[in-house]
């Protein structure tokens, strides 16, 4: 009995020993900042005055009236048009790669490259690709026109307010179509029981019927998972590309929620206002996460 008690104490001490480094960091850089951020969202502070001044709900009231915030929310949603396009592409690619053709591994590697090399370097590359005069797209369009004997000119891409968001969507689809989602779909496709296809085949189902009645329902948890994860990512996306390529312009057309938070906090030092926006962002993500959890909670019981 005494021995058992001592063992238990020993285990507890050991456990907290193992936890300690991570726990300190967790408290210092996650839990306490979350509470601090909530407090800040009800205050105003420019870092210079002696401390945050409590202002109640005024940040949120201002936010509701802020026309820029509405616009940047719309931008964020608009840019998320890349999600369904790239998901459909990922699924098509995964189905094609699942046919066991020659060179599948090489194809998978190449398709994965844009995802791997994301970041500043790639956004700089695309900034040049979209250059109206010398970029890859517009020279290709012009050369294609030459072949047909026509004079074709491409759009001004990200320098044109009407084209800036579509440019980003094209780039984002290129970046994500062969990446994580394709790998997830490929794994899901390989997990569909062979028997189901056999049964469908014996019933004389054609390829489309097999896809629609067997594959699609079987991989729907993966689709839902990818969709919710992409939504969560999509609401927080758009900083790097806007910072490197457009600076949020032209005329604010590529500024997203996260970029707006960054600007308020670190360009204009509106710490309270920025914290308030970040809590709105959190609420959106919270709702999606709850949806995701409730769906998967249910699904796991059936599986």
């Amino acid at each position: 009995m005494k021995n058992g008690l001592r063992d238990k104490t020993k285990e507890t001490i050991a456990a907290y020993g193992f936890l300690m480094p991570n726990l300190i960091g967790f408290l210092l850089f996650t839990s306490i900042p979350v509470l601090a951020s909530l407090g800040l969202s009800f205050a105003k502070w420019d870092l210079l005055s002696d401390g945050p001044k409590f202002t109640g709900l005024s940040n949120f009231i201002e936010l509701a009236k802020d026309p820029f915030f509405g616009k940047y929310c719309w931008n964020t949603l608009y840019l998320m048009a890349a999600i369904p396009i790239s998901m459909a592409g990922s699924l098509l690619l995964a189905i094609a790669l699942n046919q066991k053709l020659k060179g599948t591994v090489i194809f998978r590697t190449i398709y994965f490259l844009p995802t791997i090399c994301s970041g500043v370097a790639i956004f700089m590359l695309w900034r040049l690709i979209y250059n109206p005069n010398f970029g890859l797209f517009n020279t290709s369009i012009a050369q294609f026109g030459d072949m047909l004997g026509l004079r074709l000119t491409g759009p001004n891409w990200w320098t044109d307010e009407a084209w800036a968001k579509p440019s980003f969507i094209i780039m984002n689809v290129w970046q994500s179509v062969g990446g994580y989602n394709m790998i997830l779909y490929l794994a899901a496709l390989q997990g569909v029981p062979r028997d189901l296809y056999d049964a469908a085949e014996v019933d004389g189902a054609n390829s489309w019927q097999k896809f629609w009645n067997v594959t699609w329902p079987q991989i729907s948890p993966t689709t839902f998972f990818i969709a919710t994860m992409s939504l969560i990512g999509g609401f927080q996306a758009g900083f790097d590309q806007a910072y490197v390529m457009t600076g949020g312009g032209p005329n604010g057309s590529t500024t997203t929620i996260i970029y707006y938070i960054y600007s308020h906090a670190f360009d204009w030092y509106h710490m309270g206002y920025a914290a308030a926006i970040s809590w709105i962002l959190f609420l959106i993500i919270f709702v999606i996460t709850i949806l995701k959890w409730s769906f998967f909670g249910k699904n796991i019981h059936y599986a």
């Binding site: 967790f26 790669l97 053709l101 398709y111 890859l136 062969g178 998972f225 900083f239």
Partner: protein, 318 residues
């Protein structure tokens, strides 16, 4: 005619399947069906050829921007603006101006950016994997009061966007006087609820027998962790290492916030700064970008397996 025979055969086969319960027999029937299908090998081959060509076209459009990047980085600065280039000259380097790659290092303190990035990414990676593995071991294998509540706290914070915490963390580091130091670049990146969660899930799948035997032999928890858990978890640790390193290498926003003097810049910030100062030196910008993604490419090519496994692991967690 052919269709009619097909449907007859199918009908017959259905009967047979209904009649037989044995799986092996069913397999045989399916084989017959597929063989019958491949009686029209031309159509089948054609389908596969079309599919292959479509995949190839896709792969080319994925790789094209990179090819263009290489050829631009090796071009003569005056040459890329010339109007009378043939279309293939866009793609294939017609000159090899390696000088571009050398020049980058002298135009901006590129070596400094590079070293900063290597140092910061390595510290974050090592720190995150070490602290996550230790915490994950405690959560997965040890019993202690408050464990489940604490773990729930970790889980709950995983959905909080980084944007929420970055402002108070900045204020905190500023309060410590750590802004514009390596500490500010590294420390917040070390502690990750996600890494802890992922490794905990993996540790839970390890068989317990070895540990029990070790415990009976009087092994300490530290020795069990070091000699049993860690060696068994190499794939999960490699996955976390790869993803953490890549994330740290690419991160733009946090270094922008944490440091402000040029000699503390990491590569992403340095590259963005480079672009601001030398806006029109395309060849140099592309050479610098090439050098930034090269280490990532190397990591990816050698660790491809871990990427695929890691993504699947993340997918399963749901």
């Amino acid at each position: 005619m052919g269709n009619h025979i097909d449907s007859l055969i199918r009908e017959e086969m259905k009967q047979e399947i209904f009649a037989s319960v044995s799986r092996s027999k069913r397999k045989k029937v399916i084989k017959v069906v597929t063989e019958l299908k491949e009686k029209s090998p031309l159509k089948h081959k054609l389908q596969r050829a079309v599919l292959f060509l479509a995949l190839l076209a896709g792969a080319i459009s994925m790789a094209a921007p990179f090819l263009w990047m290489v050829s631009t980085s090796l071009a003569d600065p005056g040459q890329i603006f010339s109007e009378n280039r043939a279309w293939w000259q866009e793609w294939l380097p017609t000159s090899f101006v390696w000088k571009n790659y050398v020049k980058v290092w002298s135009v901006v303190p590129f070596a400094k950016f590079y070293l900063n990035s290597i140092f910061v990414s390595l510290c974050i990676t090592f720190g995150q994997v070490a602290t996550s593995a230790m915490a994950a071991y405690a959560f997965a294998r040890l019993n202690f009061p408050g464990r489940d509540r604490l773990f729930f706290g970790y889980l709950a914070t995983m959905m909080i966007p980084g944007a929420v915490t970055m402002i108070p963390v900045f204020i905190l580091l500023r309060h410590f006087g750590w802004i514009d130091t390596y500490k500010a670049l590294i420390l917040p990146g070390i502690f990750s609820a996600y890494g802890t969660f992922m490794l905990r899930q993996f540790f839970l799948t390890l068989p317990k027998e070895l540990e029990d035997a070790a415990k009976i032999d009087g092994c300490s928890y530290l020795r069990i962790f070091w000699h049993i858990i860690l060696p068994l978890s190499k794939p999960a640790l490699a996955t976390l290492t790869t993803f953490t390193f890549m994330g740290a290498w690419m991160n733009l926003m946090w270094p922008l916030i944490a440091v402000n003097s040029i000699e503390k810049y990491t590569l992403p910030v340095g590259l963005a700064y480079f672009q601001g100062v030398h806006n029109t030196d395309w060849t140099l910008l592309m050479a610098a970008s090439m050098m930034m993604i090269l280490p990532i490419l190397i990591v990816f090519i050698f660790n491809q397996r871990f990427f695929v496994e890691g993504i699947k692991l993340a997918g399963i967690k749901g």
